[in-house]
């Protein structure tokens, strides 16, 4: 699964550590999600969507779809 997490984070000028703190996870988790090596759980995805004020589909999308 791919994500726009890095772009959304950059738009807000947040570091991985700041985003991790806001979501209550480790910085490594944010890094693994951004690099596409780890797919977050649904509760974490919802938390991210709430934090960025968008829907989950706007952050995450399947590998074959490029946004």
């Amino acid at each position: 699964m791919k994500s726009k997490l890095k772009i959304l984070r950059a738009e807000r000028d947040w570091s991985q550590a700041q985003l991790a703190e806001a979501l209550g996870v480790s910085r490594q988790t944010i890094n693994a999600i951004e690099t596409g090596r780890y797919d977050p759980s649904l509760p974490l995805a919802f938390k991210m969507a709430k934090l960025f004020g968008c829907s989950i589909e706007e952050i995450f999308f399947p590998d074959e779809i490029e946004k």
């Binding site: 996870v25 490594q28 988790t29 780890y38 759980s41």
Partner: protein
């Protein structure tokens, strides 16, 4: 972000260093007694080794960072485990009756229980990726140990020396470490 960043020593780091020193001291006490050299020497070397590890972890945290309070809790349980193991070894060397020896054997089991509970609580406190890494590492450790023990049992039929079942902790630790490194690399 630079994960290799060095930290200065705050209260949290000093508490970690003290805890690892105590655990190291307990380890030295057990080995000093087991290998029959000076207990003070064992405790001192163990504590120094513990300080070195605590210092290293505090100023240069591992790439996959965990809350230090979780690490300290595990160290506390490990200290209890080492001390109960020492108590067991000491009691066995006394002139105990058979029934008393059975009771003494319960002592390290309390230490094991504390260690398992602290690890369980620690895993429950990790975030989802860290929990997955630990779970996969434990699964690899478990499977590796099963294959190793099963394989060794077959070689025993061919004349390989019988060993104390307690040594199973060593292959288990090695396989857990391999599993941890493998999963850390996967989610790097």
């Amino acid at each position: 972000m630079n994960t290799e960043e060095r930290r200065s020593l705050g209260n949290d780091e000093i508490r970690t260093i003290i805890m690892t020193a105590i655990t190291g001291g307990a380890f030295g006490l057990l080995y000093g007694y087991g290998f029959e050299f000076s207990l003070w020497l064992g405790v001192s070397i163990g504590a120094l080794f513990g300080v070195a590890i605590g210092f290293r972890i505090s100023i240069k945290p591992p790439k996959m960072e965990y809350p230090m309070s979780i690490f300290r809790r595990i160290m506390m349980a490990a200290t209890f485990f080492l001390l109960t193991s020492f108590g067991y070894s000491y009691l066995l060397d006394q002139d105990l009756s058979q029934a008393q020896q059975y009771w003494a054997a319960i002592l390290p089991l309390l230490g094991w229980a504390a260690l398992i509970i602290s690890i369980g609580v620690a895993i429950a406190n990790l975030d989802e990726l860290q929990r997955r890494i630990q779970t996969e590492a434990i699964a690899i450790g478990f499977a590796g140990t099963a294959v190793f023990v099963g394989g060794y049992a077959l070689f025993q039929f061919s004349g390989l020396a019988e060993v104390n079942v307690g040594v199973v902790i060593f292959p288990m630790s090695v396989f857990w470490l391999i599993g941890k490194l493998w999963t850390l690399w996967r989610y790097r």
